[in-house]
Symmetry: C2
Subunit: 318 residues, 2 copies
C-alpha cells in the first residue's frame, strides 16, 4: 500500500474525511456528524476513532498512516491552537496536537478550511499544475484562499484570503450591513445571497420586464439562468455583480499576481458564462502585463477540503 494520509474537513454539521495515497489517489471518503455537545470535546476523538475504523476496514495497517491534515472553520494558529470556533462552540483548543496524540503521535497539520480547500483545488482541482493560486468561493458568503509557491498564505493574524470583506462599494445604498459589520463588502454583492439582493434592488429600481419578477424568492441561480436565456434585467444584475468581483480580483493581482483564479461555490455552477463575465471586467484593469491571470472553475466541490488537508500534511513532511 505504501504511505497513507488522512484529510479531514471539519464543518459545523459534519466532518468530511478521506484517506489518500501519496500519488493523490483517494482510497475512500466518508462523513461523520460533528458532535457539538460538551463544548465540542468529542470532535477530535470521533475523528480519530473514525480514521482508525476506516483504516481497518480498508485493510491498511495503522503504521502506514504517515500523517493527517485538518481544516477547521475558523482561524487557527501555526502551532494548531484555536481560540474559538463559533459554529461548533469550541474554545481554547488544539485539534492538531490532540489529533496527533490520538493517532499515536503521527504528524498532524491544521489550517483554516477555506485555505485548505484552496490548497486542494491547487493540488488536484481547477488549479492543478499551478503553484500561485487564489481560490474564490461564491457561496452563501464569499471566501478565499491564497496559495503562493504551493503553500497556504494564512496571514499573520489568520486573515489571509478574507476577500469577502473587501469593501467594494464605498457608497453602499442599502441599510443592511454585512455580517462583519461593514457596508458594501464583496460578500454583499457577489455571494449567492448578494446576487439575489442586487437582483431585488435592480427590480425595485426599474420597470424593466423580467422573468425574475415572477419568482417569489429570486436566487443567484435564477439570475444566471435568466441571464443566459437573454433576460435583460438578469444580464444587468449578473454583469454588475461580476464587475465588482473582477475589481477585487484585479486588486489581488496587483498585490500578489497569482497565475490563476479558481472560482468555486454554488454560484460557480453558472460555468463558462460566469468566467466570461469576470474576464470581460478583469482584463481592462490589468494594464501592466499583456498576459492576464487564468480563470478556471473549481472541480473538487465539497471534496476540496479533504484533498487540501491531506496535501498540507504531505507538504510538511517533504
Amino acid at each position: 500500500m505504501g504511505k497513507v494520509y488522512a484529510g479531514v474537513d471539519l464543518g459545523g454539521t459534519t466532518a468530511k474525511l478521506g484517506l489518500f495515497k501519496e500519488d493523490a489517489s483517494l482510497i475512500r471518503k466518508w462523513e461523520i456528524p460533528t458532535r457539538k455537545e460538551d463544548g465540542g470535546k468529542h470532535v477530535t476523538p470521533d475523528i480519530a476513532d473514525s480514521i482508525k475504523k476506516h483504516m481497518e476496514e480498508a485493510g491498511i495497517a495503522m503504521e502506514d498512516l504517515a500523517g493527517a491534515g485538518i481544516g477547521v472553520p475558523g482561524p487557527i494558529r501555526p502551532d494548531g491552537y484555536v481560540e474559538v470556533i463559533v459554529n461548533i462552540g469550541m474554545r481554547d483548543w488544539n485539534p492538531v496536537k490532540e489529533l496527533s496524540e490520538l493517532l499515536g503521535g503521527i504528524p498532524v497539520k491544521g489550517g483554516n478550511d477555506a485555505n485548505v480547500a484552496a490548497l486542494g483545488e491547487m493540488w488536484q482541482g481547477g488549479g492543478k499544475g499551478y503553484r500561485d493560486v487564489v481560490a474564490v468561493t461564491l457561496g452563501t458568503g464569499v471566501g478565499g484562499g491564497v496559495i503562493l509557491d504551493g503553500r497556504i498564505v494564512a496571514g499573520s493574524k489568520g486573515m489571509g484570503g478574507e476577500i469577502g470583506h473587501m469593501v467594494m462599494d464605498w457608497n453602499w445604498p442599502e441599510p443592511e450591513a454585512c455580517n462583519c459589520g461593514n457596508y458594501g463588502c464583496l460578500e454583499q454583492i457577489a455571494s449567492a445571497t448578494g446576487i439575489a439582493r442586487i437582483a431585488r434592488r435592480f427590480m425595485k429600481e426599474s420597470d424593466k420586464p423580467s422573468v425574475l419578477r415572477e419568482k417569489e424568492n429570486v436566487t443567484a441561480k435564477d439570475v444566471f439562468d435568466a441571464a443566459k436565456a437573454g433576460d435583460e434585467l438578469a444580464e444587468e444584475v449578473a454583469d454588475y455583480c461580476m464587475l465588482y468581483l473582477a475589481r477585487a480580483l484585479a486588486y489581488i493581482s496587483q498585490v500578489i499576481d497569482p497565475e490563476i483564479f479558481v472560482i468555486g461555490g454554488g454560484v460557480s455552477k453558472a460555468g463558462q458564462y460566469l468566467l466570461d463575465l469576470i474576464r470581460k471586467h478583469y482584463d481592462p484593469l490589468i494594464v501592466l502585463t499583456k498576459e492576464k491571470a487564468k480563470l478556471a472553475l473549481a472541480t473538487l466541490g465539497n471534496d476540496a477540503g479533504i484533498y487540501g488537508a491531506a496535501k498540507m500534511v504531505m507538504d510538511s513532511l517533504e
Copy 2:
C-alpha cells in the same frame, strides 16, 4: 573578514553599490553612473569592475565575495532574464548571469528594485524583526514590495506589489489618466504628485482660505506642513489622500494579512502625522481581527535597495 556580499541597486541615472558582512554591517557604499549608451551594454561590466576595485581598496580578497544581489528598475524573471528596462534602454538581457560570469562565477540573484528595497527594509529598516512585510513607497509614484515569510513575492508575471495601480477612485473626476492608462489609481491620489494634484482640486472646488493658495506650485510637503500647522484645507487634502491609501492597505491585509506596513518615499517625511492619518482610516476597515497591522516609517532611505540586494543573495545561499 569572513564572507562578504555585494548589493547593487541599479537605477536609470546611477547604480548604488554596497559591500556587506554576513551580520548586516555595511563595509562601504558608493555610486557609479549608469551608462545608457550602446543599449546599456556597459552597465554590468561597470558594476563588476567597480565591485572589484572597491574590494581591493577595502583590502578584501575576491574569494571572500560570497555572492551579489542586484535590483533592477523593471520586471525580471526568476532566472534573471529581463525583457526590457525602459529607463535604461536595455532589452533582452540577463544581468544575473552576466554579473555572475564577470565576478568569477559567484552566485548572483536579481529582483525588481521595489521588491528588493522592501526586503532591505524588512532586514535592517522599518520592518526589522518581521517576516511578513509590505513596503509602500510614496514618491513621484506609488510603489510597493511584498515580503512573506522573509521572501519577496515577485508574482507570476512580475506584478507583485504593483499597488500604485490599484484603481481606488472608480469615479475619477479628472480628465488626466495615470501613467498606466487607467483612471483613479492609488498613484494618482497618494503619491507626492497625486497629493499636489488633489490639493489643486480642493482649492479649485472651495473658497476656503489656505496658505496653500499662496504657493505657485503646491507640493505634497506644502500640504503636510500646512496640515500640521492647522490649515483646514490642507488637513482635508491630507486626510482625503490617506483615506484612499488606507483603503488600499486594508485590501492588502484582506489578501495576505502582513504583520506590518513600512511607509517610505518622500511623502513619508511627514512622519508620525502621516501614520496617524493612515491608522485612523485603516483600523475601522479591519473588523475581522482585533489586532491590526503595525505601521512604521521606512528608515533606510536610498540605501534600502543595496541592503535588500545583499540580503536576497544571502538568503539564496542558506
